[in-house]
């Protein structure tokens, strides 16, 4: 049985135009490393371009990333970044609705789009001879979007159904939503990416166009081209399509959001839902991201998450599942890719009859031990090997590479940060791991969420016909 229990149903970290398994991995670490460094250049209008070569198959992935996400929305307009992402498929003056998608499909391509707290991205995967055409379409919709109510209003219903599917129908997702809202007192990361239902319902054409005009511009975008291409050959194509779009000087170089006060009190939330058949406990800590952390700290948190909850030999799994047999599963994860703070997450699925209090006592003991005693060298070596190997495995997929570079570059990291990640993992010391546990896994920085069965609700009839 698969040993790495990644958090069973984590928060909606990325929402997308279409349900696509390709984006099941969200907020992935910035750790993609190729043998050959990517080629990077900047256009005169400020657009950053990264070219990652992979010549195995005559396929290219074009991904454009805008430095705008749900955390950049105006209060009261939650869900707008994601709503606009859907509306970007509704056509332009030059290419009416459907033409771009039909062109992608005619050549057997694949396309989708996704929204996170810090970025919004669009991609196509196509045979390499189609790249020029794709650039023309993508550049055109950076400024040429045309929205009509006849397209906008049904799409809002589509997004509400996406909300129903991802959140309303899922007790685990509802708990995550509550935990995130409780974790952030002031920073917009506390808002769901998909938005609050009552605010999504009211978003309209004008909201979307205003947001579009404010944030979609070449100086706020990063273009990633990954695949069977020669950077020298495609540069003129990039200049011809994207290079002619004027920059928007009003967009600030750095995004400023309301920041969190120093966390002062641990919080708990309890979500009761009649459909819960497996209770769960999740604890999120507010910790530094790869962008905000001091040197080495983010990598120490990567190592710490793997030690605590990465696989069947991790400390928490051994304590809760194997030794004390209080839980059927346990895990931990750290998603360091964020412009502002990140979350360190711990989760456990109690065995029937096990008490949350006993599980928490075990979690606390594992953390206290890590905060006090240096980890054995053999364990440190094991988890570092696993983490570094992920970077090599990532080379196998050009789409994964494009995604990792894009996510890192739109959250304030550099190409060099990404490429040096394995070396920085190798350099993590036992003392850094201990210090990270002591400093950041402080209960005051956390929210603990309990998912329980609601037995009080008046039961609707459950007879089957």
């Amino acid at each position: 049985m698969t040993s790495s229990f990644r958090l069973a149903a984590r928060s909606v970290a990325v929402v997308a135009l279409l349900l696509a398994p390709a984006f099941a991995i969200s907020g992935a670490r910035a750790q993609a490393v190729t043998a050959k460094p990517p080629t990077t250049f900047k256009l005169d209008n400020g657009m950053q371009v990264v070219v990652i070569e992979d010549h195995r198959t005559p396929v290219v992935t074009q991904m454009i990333w805008y430095k705008v996400g749900s955390a950049d929305e105006t209060p009261g307009k939650s869900g707008l970044a994601h709503f606009l992402e859907h509306l970007m498929f509704k056509g332009t003056a030059k290419h009416p609705v459907g033409e771009f998608s039909q062109t992608v499909q005619r050549v057997g391509g694949e396309e989708n789009a996704f929204t996170s707290t810090d970025y919004t991205g669009y991609y196509q995967r196509i045979s390499k001879d189609q790249l020029g055409k794709m650039m023309e379409f993508e550049a055109d919709r950076m400024t040429g979007l045309v929205l009509k109510d006849e397209n906008v209003l049904p799409e809002r219903d589509v997004v509400l159904e996406e909300y129903n599917m991802r959140v309303a129908n899922s007790p685990d997702a509802r708990l995550s939503e509550q935990i995130m809202a409780a974790l952030y007192l002031n920073h917009p990361y506390g808002r769901p990416i998909i938005g609050w239902h009552q605010e999504i319902e009211k978003l309209d054409r004008e909201d979307a166009l205003a947001f579009y005009k404010r944030f979609y511009a070449p100086n706020n975008a990063t273009l990633i081209i990954a695949g069977d291409v020669d950077p020298q050959e495609i540069r003129p194509m990039v200049e011809r399509t994207y290079g002619v779009i004027p920059a928007q000087p009003a967009i600030p170089e750095r995004r400023m959001r309301p920041q969190e006060p120093t966390p002062a009190a641990p919080r708990t939330v309890t979500l009761a839902d009649p459909r819960v058949e497996q209770t769960s406990l999740r604890r999120y800590y507010q910790v530094p991201s790869a962008t905000t952390a001091a040197a080495g700290e983010s990598q120490a948190l990567d190592v710490l998450a793997q030690l605590i909850g990465g696989g069947a030999n991790s400390y928490l799994y051994r304590a809760l599942v194997v030794d004390k047999q209080l839980a059927v599963n346990a895990g931990a994860s750290y998603q360091g890719t964020a412009l502002d703070s990140a979350q360190f997450m711990i989760s456990a699925s109690p065995k029937p009859g096990a008490e949350f209090a006993d599980i928490e006592k075990t979690i606390d003991a594992v953390i206290a031990d890590l905060a006090t005693n240096p980890v054995p060298a053999a364990d440190l070596e094991r988890v570092k090997t696993q983490l570094v190997a992920e970077a090599t495995y990532a080379q196998d997929s050009q789409a994964s590479l494009a995604r990792w570079y894009g996510a890192a570059l739109t959250t304030g990291l550099s190409v060099e940060d990404i490429r040096s990640w394995p070396d920085r993992i190798k350099a993590v010391t036992a003392e850094q791991v201990r210090a990270a546990a002591q400093t950041w896994l402080d209960k005051k920085r956390s929210v603990t969420g309990y998912l329980i069965k609601d037995t009080s609700a008046p039961k609707r009839e459950e007879k089957r016909s």
Partner: protein, 455 residues
């Protein structure tokens, strides 16, 4: 497609726009170089040598799968698969895992409907250790009691979750409706009543019957030379029993539509699963059926269902259908979801689109565009070593020739408009099998959130 079947233990090959791996192959780094390797010990593998990335990916399968579960012990194959990487030979679970983790070796098994599948991925410098761990897992898994109970608890937890998950309920009900008491009606992960009864003897007996050389198919892609690979394969698989002992599984055709069932569950969004009898992979009209499914609802942004149900009416976020094929049957299955009070409208819209396709078939233009898509998308399916290995294994399981990659475009091109129309009619002329999971109609008509009563 993880919505449709739980935990990725599909048990059936799925073909939609997002998992074309099972069908579409391409002129790519693979095409010219697929070798048929036969080892001195007589083990056969399809193999692509490629040194771009310093890793090796192997996918392999034994005939059997969940269809070979004992009658009242559904979930046996799944338990076997879940336990085969939990300790072997002298290595207990923890030590076995430690050996894998120290070298970042990815080794696992899963039970599909007709196959017990294994997969192994490693950095090339760890290849000897990786193949040796695979050998141990295949030849002498321990099935220690504490591990069996731990894995059983995890499976039971998943099964309990499924009892209130509308997608799982819809799929379970759909398979029961379609396949009656045939083994294909039973979910691969078993049931709350069966899984507690599976004991260590059942697990050992299943492994003994199924893991054998005569049904084994292997695909390998990566940075290894053929001579070294042959030696590794002989060491890994050579000591397995020559012959598996399989219980015959009868051919089955899904029940004739139309039929409809509903399950009442208090969820905000109603889940709708629809389908019909499908086609087997070796059916001469398979490609025509595959093409019309692509046009109707193959999961792209231009399919008829996407356009009518999502784009035009805003009824749903996701709507698509797939042809699934097993060794002894074939089925068409689709899924969508909408808020409770629009469920009837959604079912009606899907049904009328399916009817229109059955009666009129696709247009010439739709057929041409679908062909163009299917040919062009081939290469997207093969751009990683793991995907390529998975595809090469699936081709063997589907009994396709080793040069299928080159032949496939011609097979796509050969489908005529008449054949496509006939395929659509055959799939959907009788209508649909439909399962609806959600609030009862009278409850759905009520306000979504009843106002709290003042005391």
């Amino acid at each position: 497609m993880s919505i449709i079947f739980n935990a990725g233990r599909l048990g059936i090959a799925v073909a939609t726009a997002f998992s074309l791996v099972t069908l579409t192959m391409t002129p790519s780094f693979a095409a010219a170089k697929v070798q048929r390797l036969v080892t001195p010990g007589g083990i056969e593998a399809w193999f692509v040598q490629d040194a771009t990335v310093p890793l090796i990916a192997m996918e392999y399968a034994f005939g059997g799968g969940a269809a070979q579960d004992p009658k009242d012990k559904s979930g046996t194959a799944n338990m076997v698969a879940s336990l085969m990487d939990e300790g072997a030979g002298d290595l207990d679970s923890s030590t076995f895992r430690d050996r894998m983790e120290r070298r970042a070796i990815e080794l696992n098994f899963n039970a599909q409907r007709d196959y017990l599948r294994g997969s192994l991925r490693m950095l090339k410098e760890h290849r000897d250790e990786a193949f040796d761990l695979a050998r141990l897992a295949l030849t002498s898994p321990r099935f220690d009691a504490p591990d069996v109970e731990r894995i059983r608890a995890q499976i039971m937890s998943g099964l309990r979750r499924e009892t209130s998950n509308p997608n799982s309920l819809a799929t379970r009900k759909f398979l029961q409706m379609a396949f009656g008491d045939h083994p294909y009606s039973r979910p691969s992960n078993g049931s709350l009543t069966d899984v507690p009864t599976i004991n260590v003897d059942d697990i050992k007996a299943y492994k003994q019957r199924i893991v054998a050389k005569d049904t084994l198919k292997i695909a390998v892609v990566g940075d290894v030379d053929p001579g070294t690979l042959a030696t590794l394969l002989d060491k890994t698989f050579g000591a397995l029993p020559a012959k598996a002992t399989l219980t015959p599984v009868p051919e089955v055709t899904a029940v004739k539509p139309p039929q409809k069932e509903s399950v009442t569950l208090d969820v905000p969004q109603t889940v709708i699963t629809f389908g019909s009898p499908g086609v087997k992979r070796d059916d001469p009209n398979f490609m025509a059926a595959y093409i019309v499914n692509h046009i109707l609802g193959g999961g792209t942004l231009s399919s008829r269902l996407y356009h009518e149900v999502r784009e035009k009416r805003g009824l749903v976020y996701s709507v698509s259908g797939s042809l699934l094929w097993m060794q002894h049957s074939g089925i068409y299955i689709g899924s969508t979801a909408t808020r409770a009070d629009r469920a009837t409208e959604t079912v009606d819209t899907v049904t009328s689109e399916v009817k229109r396709m059955a009666e009129q078939g696709p247009t010439q233009r739709e057929l041409d565009e679908a062909k163009s898509y299917l040919k062009g998308s081939q290469m997207l399916a093969l751009d990683t070593s793991s995907k390529l290995a998975g595809a090469l294994l699936q081709y063997q399981l589907d009994k396709l020739p080793i040069d299928y990659i080159e032949k496939r475009n011609a097979i796509v091109d050969a489908v005529t408009l008449d054949q496509a129309k006939a395929a659509a009619k055959k799939l959907w002329a009788d209508g649909l099998l439909t399962v609806v999971v959600g609030r009862a109609p009278q409850a759905a008509a009520a306000p979504v959130a009843p106002a709290p009563k003042a005391n």
